[in-house]
């Protein structure tokens, strides 16, 4: 899976499941602020990632994620390692 495919898929489920406006999704924007994430939303992020990519990310994984770019990198690394 190419990085572009991973990014497209992530953006697509964020728009669909988290109802975020596509225009706010830019690589350097804060994931937490734009999605207004609280502790419950991180659980739902785990669920959509599992549904879309077939693996589970942990709370520990999210510690390295601030921006969308961090998020794309995290998922792409895990996809590549699969």
């Amino acid at each position: 899976m190419t990085k572009e495919t991973v990014i497209d898929r992530i953006n697509s489920f964020l728009v669909e499941e988290f109802e975020v406006d596509e225009s706010v999704i830019v690589p350097n924007a804060s994931l937490k602020d734009t999605l207004e994430l609280d502790s419950l939303d991180y659980v739902d992020l785990v669920v959509v990632i599992e549904n879309n990519f077939g693996f589970k990310v942990t709370g520990e994984d999210f510690k390295a994620v601030t921006t969308y770019q961090d998020f794309y990198d995290l998922i792409f690394d895990k996809v590549s390692a699969e």
Binding site: E17, F18, E19, E36, D38, L40, D41, V43, D44, V46, V47, E50, K56
Partner: protein, 404 residues
């Protein structure tokens, strides 16, 4: 002691998705019962049900608010939106005033079962998602509505089987009467999905008259053969008379009596003595004699035993002249919601001067022949109305509303 009045109502049921549609069905004796293909697929003994559509709430609530809503909580949102509109209330009122919520609900089976299915399949609890726990608890309606509407008063759910909605109104009535709250959102909700009703169907108490679904639910009729499950939600806004007049609200009726009792006997069989005590307690509290009651909305669900026992109780308290009907003949049994929805039906009758019919009442049995069952929609001025709700475990509840 404060007087307690009703200033708002909303309904989402199998006979209509709002007050206007429900009024039309009640006036014309229209049944909401049909065949549910999902029940057929799951091997139900009875495929009959009073189905309601799951509402799309995207225009009303954001993602986070919708994420935690169970099926019945979605119905409750629709009913509550309508109730707030009729009461002339919005969020700004709740910011400035301490308003509570008490709702009747006694299951959230679909949410529970789907979560367990996911855990069993994935062997991972996180993957049920964050909304599941808030959809799964019996208090799903009150916990969700209290946060959506930013309520700051009393906040709990009443679970009392098929009398849940009625007791919820009764508890709200008591708190306002005692001066502890000025306004409470009260009501009842019921999920309709087959997962919620499989074990109930297994008891063999549902009607099997599938050849003509609209004639299947026939309370008090000689040939009745069981109840039909249905659901939705009903909401009422109740407040002290002082609160209503201070804000210039339109008073729909006064809540004047709440009676209750427990049979203290069998888990599913009714008993005449317990029901009589509940009705008489409500009459006493209201300061009314049985001869002053213009209409009784019976609990009668169309089961052979249940209707017979309630018929005997009604005969003992009211004699043979008081007009009686069971709106369940049209709606089916709305279970946890029924005690609240039937107050909405009674209010619509009171406002529009008619008695909704007990449809499918064609031949009386030896008990119902001694009662004044109203089989066809009838013009009538209703000043005082009694509504009965009874449930498993022998819990009984009776409410009385009065025209103001």
């Amino acid at each position: 002691m404060s007087r307690v009045v009703i200033t708002g109502m909303g309904i989402y049921s199998c006979i209509g998705k709002n007050l206007q549609e429900v009024l039309h069905s009640l006036q014309n004796g229209l049944s909401g019962i049909s065949i549910d293909p999902a029940r057929e697929e799951m091997g139900f003994r009875s495929k009959l049900a009073g189905l309601v559509e799951e509402p799309d709430l995207k225009a009303v609530l954001n993602r986070k608010q919708r994420n935690t809503l169970s099926e019945e909580a979605k119905y409750a949102v629709v009913a509550t939106e309508e109730a707030l509109k009729t009461a002339g209330l919005d969020l700004s009122y709740f910011e400035k005033n301490e308003v509570g919520i008490i709702y009747g609900n006694d299951s959230s089976a679909k949410a529970v079962i789907e979560a367990v299915d996911t855990i069993r399949a994935k062997k991972d609890t996180t993957l049920v998602g964050s909304g599941s726990i808030f959809q799964s608890m019996n208090s799903t309606v009150t916990m969700n509505l209290a946060t959506i509407y930013k309520l700051r008063g009393i906040n709990y759910t009443v679970s009392a089987a098929c009398a849940s909605g009625s007791h919820a109104i009764g508890m709200g009535y008591q708190l306002i009467k005692a001066g502890m709250q000025d306004m409470i959102i009260v009501g009842g909700a019921q999920e309709v999905n087959p997962l919620a009703f499989g074990s109930f169907d297994g008891l063999g108490v549902f009607s099997s008259r599938e050849e003509n679904p609209k004639a299947s639910c026939r309370p008090f009729d000689r040939d009745r053969d069981g109840l039909v499950a249905s659901g939705g939600a009903a909401t009422l806004i109740i407040e002290s008379y002082e609160s209503a007049t201070a804000r210039g609200a339109v008073i729909l009726a006064e809540l004047v009596g709440y009676g209750f009792s427990s049979n203290g006997e069998h888990i599913s069989n009714p008993n005449v003595e317990g029901q009589v005590r509940s009705i008489r307690m409500a009459l006493k509290g209201a300061g009314l004699g049985p001869e002053e009651i213009d209409y009784v909305n019976a609990h009668a669900t169309s089961t052979p035993v249940g209707d017979r026992f309630e018929g005997m109780a009604l005969q003992e308290v009211f004699g043979s002249k008081t007009p009686i009907s069971s709106t369940k003949s049209m709606t089916g049994h709305e279970c946890w919601m029924a005690g609240a929805s039937e107050i909405v039906y009674c209010l619509l009758m009171m406002q529009n001067d008619f008695i909704a019919p007990n449809i499918n009442f064609e031949n009386p049995d030896e008990v119902s022949s001694e009662l004044n069952i109203i089989a066809h929609s009838k013009k009538a001025e209703l000043r005082n109305v009694v509504s009965n709700s009874f449930g498993f475990g022998g819990t009984n509840s009776t409410l009385i509303i009065k025209k103001v």
